[in-house]
């Protein structure tokens, strides 16, 4: 809740100008004192104006024989209103398999529509609903990099900071967890030419993160070198479990665990994580994932950083 400050009548015109000139924004994922960074593998629980360019990863595939895969991807997210966001992303992949052809090409275009269900500053809680659409036939399906059919994944996202822990557990207060769970539905259930069923898949993931910026500004300033005060050590995981229409396919969960660290700057963040497959079907050995992520609301506060609709709201001196 916000309220306008009281002011003498003589200052009213100046204040009116000020009000009309301002748009109060919290944009990327601030929830009270908590900042949820853009995670590399799963999504953070907020709509935002941001861009990941690029995200680069390398790992050895879980096929037999194991191949070597490079992915370079880009993602652009834009708020339509303060609570409604839209995203578009794509990935370019190269897969080298020993003794086999090199598969190269773009994956399907992916769009995401998200609605911010909740941002509770006092509890450091954020919730989001989204629909991810992987548009079939827009990528290189001939090379096996994209699918000829569309995938729809309604997804629920949540983030919870632990800042509400008692002072006796002060050094645990910078901890936060985020999670998401989605149900992936293909628009085709069966490919006749390959005699293959296309399964419906449960897609779920989580992150555990420790915010050094939160430690410094909310709990205790240990007067560490400034570099360390920008770091968020993190462990992410993402899993895929086929749950329906999976006749003839191996019924096995695949996924990765991704320990790493994110450096938070004023206008960008840089993330670096390892890719550890959870089983042989998910990959071989340890891969690597890196990302440069741009905060467009900070870089371009008057243009790209504004919601398309209703972006110029009134600021307020928030009651403490």
């Amino acid at each position: 809740m916000s309220r306008r400050p009281r002011c003498p009548r003589a200052f009213a015109p100046a204040l009116l100008f000020l009000l009309l000139s301002f748009s109060q924004a919290s944009a990327h994922c601030f929830v009270g004192p908590r900042f949820f960074p853009a995670t590399l593998v799963i999504d953070d629980p907020c709509v935002a104006d941001e861009m990941s360019l690029p995200t680069v990863d390398w790992f050895k595939t879980g096929t037999i024989p194991s191949g070597s895969q490079w992915d370079i991807s880009a993602e652009f997210d834009k708020r339509i209103t303060e609570d409604l966001g839209f995203g578009i992303s794509d990935v370019w992949s190269q897969i080298r398999t020993p003794g086999g052809p090199v598969a190269v090409g773009f994956g399907n275009l992916e769009t995401t529509l998200q609605y911010q269900l909740l941002k509770d500053a006092s509890r450091e809680t954020a919730m989001l609903l989204g629909l991810i659409v992987d548009w079939g036939g827009t990528g290189n399906s001939n090379a096996g990099i994209a699918t000829p059919y569309t995938l729809l994944t309604p997804t629920y996202y949540v983030g919870q900071g632990l800042g509400g822990l008692p002072d006796a557990l002060g050094f645990a207060r910078p901890l936060a967890v985020t999670a998401q769970i989605g149900y992936q539905i293909p628009t085709t259930s069966y490919i006749v030419s390959q005699n293959t069923f296309i399964p419906q898949v449960l897609v779920y993931g989580a992150s555990v993160q420790y915010s050094m910026p939160y430690l410094k500004s909310e709990v205790k300033d240990l007067q560490l070198p400034d570099f360390f005060n920008h770091l968020i050590p993190i462990v992410e995981m993402q899993m895929f479990t086929p749950v329906a229409n999976n006749l003839g396919n191996p019924s096995i969960t695949t996924g990765t665990i991704n320990p790493g660290v994110i450096y938070i700057g004023s206008y960008y963040q840089i993330g670096l994580e390892a890719i550890i497959p959870v089983n042989g079907a998910s990959g071989n050995g340890v891969g690597v994932l890196g990302q440069l992520h741009l905060y467009l609301d900070d870089m371009f506060p008057e243009t790209l950083g504004q919601p398309l609709i209703g972006g110029r709201s009134t600021p307020s001196a928030k009651p403490l």
């Binding site: 861009m51 500004s217 909310e218 709990v219 300033d221 600021p315 001196a317 928030k318």
Partner: protein, 118 residues
Amino acid sequence: MRTHIAILSLLLMALGTGTAQAHAFLDHASPLVGSTVQTAPPEVSLSFTQNLEPAFSTVQVTDSSGARVDQGKAQISGSTMRIELKALKPGLYRVRWHALSVDTHTTEGSFTFTVGGS
């Protein structure tokens, strides 16, 4: 392929204009966040990573019972916000702040400090 490249080009063009500002993070405070001071400080000073909009940035200091112990109006200059304190007794105090950076991004937070080692 052309569709993919066209979308990427549009995104890069969109990045070509604008002036950069950012959220105001608390850079450091006096007394230090979470610290214990032996002498009661006459004021709390907060330094942020961005310049603040004075009309919409506030700070408040309370004792362990929730009573206000700050006095006067917060003084904001550039990226620094100060507020004077009444004579503090030994005890735990909480500082709550709300900042609006000059590009209208809001941030907020709170921390404690202790006077006299109690």
